[in-house]
Symmetry: D4
Subunit: 215 residues, 8 copies
């Protein structure tokens, strides 16, 4: 299965998605799509399938959690009338537990994360031709490391919601894990979160392969 030609694909997320995209709408020429995986998958799609005319719109905002997505869902998702929607959220929801332990109200607990994402998907699913959910990840091979472990639980929630809402699930953690067999995390993301160019390419390839694009 692939995205139908002439579809409009909106991608919403955090800094991994944002990557300095244009404001208020991340769409158009030059660097409007930012310099991360969104731009890469758009370029891969257009270079390889120029006749498909997939219209990609980047709505990532750095630092966002599911709470921020909720507050801008109407404007930044529903209002853009996507044919396909990609949601890639959760890294900050988890990360803040660890980098800001003294600020509990900055942490998003798993149940709030799951429930909010569920409601948002509910509201928009009927109007979509296709839905893609990307799991949050942590570029850390040690599966019992605390942040990796918590990230795994949020990723599992995404997997279940994908099933419930008939979405394609892009398992980004698995994509990075595969590469970590040959490369140390330092070669993919110094903070294990924000990828190098290679790390963004890992995401773009995982995205396209999971959907079903042949190369």
């Amino acid at each position: 299965m692939i995205i139908q030609p002439n579809s409009k694909l909106v991608i919403i997320g955090d800094s991994i998605t944002d990557c300095d995209r244009a404001r208020p709408i991340g769409e158009g020429l030059f660097d409007a799509l930012g310099n991360g995986y969104v731009s890469l998958l758009d370029s891969l799609l257009t270079a390889r399938y120029p006749a498909h005319h997939i219209r990609v719109v980047n709505m990532g905002i750095s630092g966002n959690t599911i709470r921020d997505l909720q507050s801008r869902w109407q404007t930044d998702v529903v209002g853009l009338k996507p044919d396909w929607l990609t949601v890639f959220i959760g890294i900050n929801d988890v990360w803040r537990h660890f980098h800001s332990p003294n600020q509990p109200e900055w942490h998003v607990p798993l149940d709030e994360y799951t429930q909010t994402l569920d409601e948002l998907l509910q509201a928009v699913r009927p109007s979509l031709k296709g839905l893609i959910l990307m799991t949050p990840y942590f570029i850390e091979p040690n599966t019992i490391e605390p942040m990796r472990k918590m990230m795994g639980r949020y990723g599992e929630a995404v997997r279940q919601l994908a099933e419930k809402h008939q979405a394609i699930l892009v398992d980004t953690q698995a994509a990075f894990d595969a590469v970590l067999n040959d490369l140390h995390p330092m070669a993919l993301a110094w903070d294990r979160v924000h990828p190098t160019r290679t790390g963004h390419m890992v995401l773009a390839i995982a995205f396209l392969q999971t959907i079903g694009y042949k190369w």
Copy 2:
């Protein structure tokens, strides 16, 4: 055929290659490889074949012609001891005939271009495991347009040198022509020379597919 794991691949060229790479050697973390096709093919290779550890070095310099390559060949090619070498030159050699018609000494005639490139390749070929030549291109579908026509003749010279020196030929003009069936040049390069992100991806994919990488 593919590049042998653990090989060092040096790529030399003009602004299409350069793309703001690091100086003096375009190698290393972050944006050392620039933001053009070199970075893309490095990311594609590393993300897809992380165990191959291909070492990519970007030695492009904006505005270069074959004359400039000659003057820095010893330092920037031979001195770096590449296993594989890619040469992507000729666009400026042709372009200056058209944008600066009053300055004839800025133009590089076809015979000088061919002979110089031939000599440079001669000097380095024996020490290489592999050689890749990329044709110059003009993102213009009208084959009788004067600059496209002249570019075609320079590209043909590259094709013949590839044969002579047992090099892999990446026909970049053909790669862009294929995409031009579905997209106007304005969507790939406003000046028909410096590609958008999509245009750079066209180059990276052509490079990898011609060598023989499977996806």
Copy 3:
């Protein structure tokens, strides 16, 4: 015929007109008129006919289409009470069909373009001493090139509206075509749209000669 001494001439258009003019009104000393053809024709007029005291006002805004002109017509044309008015619009209306093929709502179709321009001229013509319409252009000698061809149809619409509204028609496409006999488009505008200094002079001379100024 020439513009009457002491007249106020307002010129409205897109980036070709704008060229970094002063805001909100492009009028006055130093670089208030921008650095494009508007400044050149003002300088040519003042240097050659200093006693005429033609008052030139630049109201171009980069990226504008006829839709944008409609939304600011009351403020930026009618409100300025011009004696003479010049309208130079349409390049972006056409261009976006080609550089942003995936965004159909960004394209301005020919009928909408024609009808909107017609209405705007209708509204202001009675209050003017003179009206000048400049055709959109594409600096491309190949008349069957798709964007050149579409630009020709929009230019033809301008020609018909000039006739209907008793306007002077400045055929900018013809002016550029004349120069293209001796110069490649690369010497006049790398993207075939935004002119070099020479290209802007082509526009200024065409403007003054069409009106009827002797040198």
Copy 4:
């Protein structure tokens, strides 16, 4: 008489010529010719006579006097092998008498000015197809004003040298005087020296008309 097609015209002078030209050689695309009269006359020539291919090179340097020209004559004039040469110098030689009265060694006296210019022209005249001398000027209608008066004497020296060396004399003072009948100096140059865009156009037109170009 006009400049022969395909000629190389070098223009050397001070800030009026310089106008932010490219270094070390003021030649080529974009703003290489600066934003003053040199760029204007190049644009006028190219737009009106595109087949002539006059190659214009701007070698002005802000703040120069005849002493500075002497020190760089070999490199910046002789070494460039011009077919035609334009020399436009003397304003700073005079001006410094007035704005820096306490620094007598900064002033260039008339006899030194005349003799140095004479020697420089002598050295290069035989190798030239044509020579153009532009008088220094002061945009001040009051002919007994001290600086205007002194400038007049330096201009007269240029006139005599033009005769001696068979040069075309562009009387820039006369060109400005004509416009000053209708415009106050404040509309042409706030300091009566550095022209507005209109003032630069006055120079460009005087240059071309004196040589003999028809419009």
Copy 5:
């Protein structure tokens, strides 16, 4: 007579007064008073009469005419409750006749200038301990030069209003004229309007000497 110790002196005017003063109120440490004559007279007063504690407030705004003063009189003069007031306006009212001849509505005619200034002074005079009016000037020794001549008429109007409102008149034109016996205008202000540091000192000394300060 001198300004009473502990008085608050507000100075309102145009760019000659402004000189990059602090906003919204030009009062306080460091460069709050700008770098023109206001700062100089404050420094002279404080260094020579440190016990007087004269409080100086700079309310100049570049480009202002009497019209602008009228619109901000309530806030910038009355609202600050000055003991002493200095008004220094008129240069732009005159200048615009000459540098922008095509924009008649930018010129302030003499009668409007006089009447507005008269009304403003009327409104504030009763609340003041002292009033100082500074004439506009033009640093041009030729008294029949058109702009100097017109400036003289505006200065004469100020002289008459000083008499009517019992103000101290600082004749800035006379102060500059005295220096022009020994210095060319170029040594005092390249555009004959905006003074060098020496020109600002001429103003500061004239101000203090006219009021009656001994040194």
Copy 6:
């Protein structure tokens, strides 16, 4: 034991030491000592023991390995005539194995690291009153993580050299390990290498406590 009053303490190292110190010598007022642990320990010493007048000199340079220290040892250590010397090197020697796996000549092997450091210490030890060696660290609690493990081996080498050269050993890894019981690495250094302000304070306290300062 503490550093003798009026001693000169030179600290050499990499980016952890450098922290934007002054060049060429990191000594003096304001931010000359950089904004890392060096500045903190200087402030702690001076605030708590103002009569001791310990003179701290920061000679860290970002990115340095033991190879770089060798090349500048004569100038940056011996030439400064320290009473006490601190060496804090090795993080980059290890790190590059992981973030740049394709560039083997960028890696410093353990034996080269040990032998070079040994020779450098040999050369300078006799002239010193005291020597302090700081172990390299990796802010990672998992002791079998590959980079942590390799860092441990380099730290062990430092420990042995400390013994051999009668140096005080500051075990920075142990200092961080203690804090990692209560804080996730993300709260101390996003890349587990470059510390936050808290991380630098951990280093400064470990330094002073190990030497023997009471608080």
Copy 7:
């Protein structure tokens, strides 16, 4: 006594506190706490007592007096719901008497200072677990110097209010006085107000020691 683990400590003050903290709330990673004593005491606390998880919030604003604190007390203190509160204000209240003697309404008299601070503390004390008052200081050993003397009176007022409101009093003047036995004020603060890094460390240590932290 120490601050209870997991407490929230809000610190409000002037430029000594501010030090370029984040806006609107000075809390979080990187430089959110500014680069002054607040950041230092947070680092000291966290490095030494990582399990205490004291949450520090910096609400200093440069230039503030007690008047400014009053106007933002509700938002910046009460609204943040602190467990512990630190108030460090008064330096500007005093300083302005001396650096701006002509502007009496900029000075805050002692009685207004005392009464306002009293009211603010009254309003918030019941909701706090702990209150810390820091005296204003002047880094000047001469106790009869006028500004030092006046600062002493404001500090005495703080001491009395500390007693009245059961607050811990941090006597910053005494802390600086102790260091001034061995260091000239120039080594601690060039203007005797804004501390060097060492001066800020003096404040941080005084703060922690007064509360009762052992080192």
Copy 8:
């Protein structure tokens, strides 16, 4: 006595003199003289005695001590062939004892200061028409304050050298002391060294009055 008309006056010193003057020679239009007392005394002289044409050259360099003056004496004093010379040095020689107590080799002891200045004056005095020595100062009214006290001794040395070399002595300390009766040091220089605009005016007036200028 005054400086003879048409004399060249060179002023050499430290940051108080420098004030951002032009390099390499501080002479000419605009801000070439910097924005401190040198510019002020030049403006005062020129505005009041425009016929005298005193040529002022500022050769101050921030941070200089007598050692730096020695190393550039030949180039920056002798080589400029002054008629009159002003030397204003010593503040940094003293200051460093206090702000950098740990760096004894940065301090210039009194005997070295005196002897070096003596030698420098010896070498140049015969060629001068006049010599002016300005004492170093500290804007501190407390004469037993340590830095004020040491500064007094250096000032006394200057007084004796003035006598020995028949120089005019400008007692800057006395000039500031007079103003300190009415103003706190904070109103003249926040660090008691670098003056506000008023402080620079104190220096300029002291300079001119001591020489003997009437106002």
